[in-house]
């Protein structure tokens, strides 16, 4: 009886420790969503990644079936990606860089979401496995939207998610940082040391 209890206890401990360790490793999402509602640390980090960018891409409210899956920022690049229950895993990645190559894309004038932003599109393949690149260029930066559907979802799914994405201005992020008594270096900010 005692041995059995010990065995069950050990199994529970192994399971609990395993889950405790494994769960965070599986969840890169959560608090790291770059929300358009607030100027969180993930948005500040994205602004630091591309100091010249005057706009930072963010997530407004995702349509049903789309989920935030992960993000990464490194000097020169900030990226997040979304999964879709219809279009597949990492169906869309959104990447902020200082420049991008739009030479093979076509400008869609009517699609500009705000003044100063130009939208370019480069369709790569039609459904099944819809693939396209969309570029939003603006002073100091470029956001590339890579649609890579791994299922036979229609291209209209891309339009749905488009509605859930937006921009936050660097000025707004810098203002939030300034309220903490700090300075976000880069476009629009006074010269920083170094």
């Amino acid at each position: 009886m005692r041995g059995g209890g010990g065995m069950i206890g050990r199994t529970l401990v192994v399971g609990a420790v395993g889950l405790t360790i494994a769960l965070p490793a599986c969840s890169t999402a959560g608090s790291s969503v770059p929300s358009c509602e607030r100027e969180g640390n993930e948005t500040v980090l994205a602004a630091q990644a591309v100091p010249s960018a005057t706009l930072i891409p963010c997530v407004d409210s995702l349509p049903a079936g789309w989920t935030f899956a992960g993000s990464r920022s490194t000097n020169g690049l900030a990226e997040f990606w979304l999964d879709s229950d219809r279009a597949g895993i990492r169906a869309l990645s959104v990447t902020l860089t200082s420049t991008c190559d739009t030479s093979r894309a076509v400008e869609i004038t009517a699609a500009a979401p705000r003044p100063g932003v130009r939208i370019f599109e480069e369709p790569l393949s039609l459904p099944p496995h819809f693939q396209a690149d969309r570029f939003a260029t603006f002073p100091g930066g470029c956001v590339t939207y890579r649609f890579r559907f791994t299922t036979d979802a229609p291209a209209t799914v891309a339009l749905e998610v488009d509605q859930g994405l937006g921009f936050v201005t660097r000025e707004r992020v810098a203002g939030a940082v300034r309220r903490l008594g700090l300075t976000l270096c880069g476009a629009g900010a006074p010269p920083c040391p170094g």
């Binding site: 494994a22 490793a25 890169t28 608090s31 500040v44 000097n75 700090l182 300075t183 920083c192």
Partner: protein, 515 residues
């Protein structure tokens, strides 16, 4: 220290005003440092920052891994890899949990990746340096030098990263704490110096160093607890022993006895752990072959061996006379003392005639008649003196063993004797003590791991197929399976598989972080 730092961090996180104050203070320090920037110094700092580059760290780590493989130090290799993985994983998970941006208010001059706290490059370099110091460098002055070198190198990296504005001071401090503490605790806990010393001399991992403070403690303990003066401590028979540290003690003459030798076995907590893992492995691989319940403490270890020595002596089996138990460090290290068979030689180095064969077989008969099994019959545990076989290392003795285990003892003894003579001669002598059916059962049971590793290795180098020679002489008997299935075995196997899967999934999901 790590715990204290986490508490401070949580406190700062909970208190916005405190956190803000720290942020502003750190920003001021970094801004002050940025004022010092000059062209040549920046170039120098960028060069120093290459210490944290992926390729530098990879090269050093792969070099260490290859060196550890070359010197076959598997425990240290496992700990090195495990502590690096843990340090990288913890640093990464904390960074995405804390989500601290890079320093604000200064221009960042060096490449960076992800959130800043804790500093993953600093944690990675520190863990690598400390790991090398404990896995490859011998304890003492060389290890101290290695640790100081790591400190200087990591210190240079920290200064460079602060100068370049890529980390906050607290990021680097936190990174250093993670990078130093994890391998330090891992090596000190799982491969303590005195039990698993890094040495480039030959020796077994389970053997304790008996010089220095431990040697002094042994002398004092034997004097105080047994009343004997130890003149010399010498490790003996290390090749044949993996579960303890066997010693020969020279003790001073007393009123009743002249100066003489005693045999001693030193046990420590690592032997308890090794026994636990050994039995767990056996339970998974073979099931409940026999009693696989592990010992809970070192004290139980020596108590059991002392008991078996007395039991065998009472049964008339030629084993060393027990001299008692000595406590070296309470609950951590104990030593059992027994008679030293002066003038006896290991059976493998002795001449084996018909008398020795008969005596060896009679010993097994005595075990059977007393309802006991030795369970570790091999050349290293059989001594010969004046044509008589003496049995040592009775730690594995089992009372009322299964017939299978007793049969295995017989087969192992016959094999040991046949290696020095021939199978037919041993078989003929065995018939004086055992029936042909009993011998047939012995060789039906003696399969694979039923024989100790040393005996299997001796048989292999002998070249003859002695097992089959015995089987051919004995009546036909179907082989006895050593596989036993039970709920316990299934649950244990399940636990180990789940553990392995978790480790594997962690490795796969964090490979980029680790590699």
């Amino acid at each position: 220290m790590l715990g204290l730092f986490v508490v401070i961090l949580v406190g700062l996180g909970l208190s916005e005003s405190l956190g803000g104050m720290l942020e502003r203070w750190e920003a001021r320090q970094l801004a002050g440092l940025a004022e010092l920037r000059t062209g040549w110094l920046t170039q120098a700092m960028l060069a120093v920052n290459l210490l944290a580059s992926r390729w530098t760290i990879r090269t050093v780590r792969w070099g260490t891994i290859l060196a550890l493989i070359a010197v076959r130090r598997w425990r240290h290799l496992l700990l090195f890899l495990g502590s690096l993985f843990a340090a990288e994983l913890i640093a990464y998970q904390l960074s995405i949990g804390i989500t601290r941006p890079r320093p604000l208010g200064v221009v960042i001059l060096a490449p960076w990746n992800g959130y800043s706290m804790p500093s993953r490059p600093v944690a990675g370099l520190a863990a690598t340096g400390i790991g090398i110091a404990y896995a490859l460098v011998v304890p003492g002055r060389p290890r101290a030098v290695a640790k100081w070198t790591t400190g200087v190198v990591v210190g240079m990296l920290v200064f460079a990263r602060l100068y370049l504005g890529v980390d906050h001071p607290t990021d680097d401090l936190f990174g250093m704490i993670i990078g130093v503490s994890i391998p330090l605790v891992a090596f000190r806990w799982f491969a303590p110096n005195d039990v698993f010393p890094v040495s480039y001399r030959r020796g077994k991992a389970a053997h304790l160093d008996v010089g220095g403070r431990r040697g002094q403690a042994i002398r004092e303990a034997v004097r105080d607890q047994i009343g004997l003066e130890v003149l010399e401590i010498k490790p003996v028979g290390l090749e044949g022993s993996g579960g303890s540290t066997p010693l020969r003690l020279k003790v001073a003459a007393t009123d009743d006895e002249p100066e003489r030798y005693l045999f001693a076995k030193l046990y420590a907590k690592n032997h308890v752990r090794a026994d636990r893992w050994y039995k767990l492995g056996r339970s998974i691989l073979y099931g409940a072959l026999e009693d696989e319940t592990p010992f809970g403490t070192v004290r139980r270890f020596v108590e059991y061996e002392d008991y078996t020595l007395r039991l065998l002596r009472d049964a008339g089996i030629p084993t060393p006379a027990p001299f008692g138990i000595v406590e070296i460090t309470p609950e951590r290290e104990y030593m059992i003392l027994m008679e030293f068979f002066a003038g006896a030689v290991e059976i493998g180095e002795s001449e084996v005639d018909d008398g020795v064969i008969s005596d060896g077989l009679a010993v097994i008969r005595a075990f059977w008649d007393a309802g006991l099994a030795h369970r570790d019959i091999k050349p290293a545990n059989l001594m010969v003196r004046d044509g008589k076989v003496l049995v040592i290392d009775v730690f594995f003795v089992q009372v009322r063993p299964s017939p299978w285990r007793q049969a295995v003892d017989l087969a192992n003894m016959m094999l040991v004797l046949a290696v020095k003579t021939d199978a037919e001669r041993v078989y003929r002598r065995a018939l004086e003590y055992f029936t042909p059916e009993e011998i047939a059962e012995a060789f039906a049971a003696a399969r694979g791991v039923a024989s100790p590793t040393q005996l299997r290795s001796v048989l292999k180098s002998d070249g003859r197929d002695l097992v089959n020679e015995f089987r051919a002489m004995a009546p036909p008997r179907a082989p006895i399976s050593i596989q036993r299935w039970s709920l316990r075995r299934v649950v244990l196997t399940f636990e180990v598989l789940i553990g392995a899967l978790i480790v594997l999934s962690l490795l796969v999901s964090n490979w980029a972080v680790f590699a």
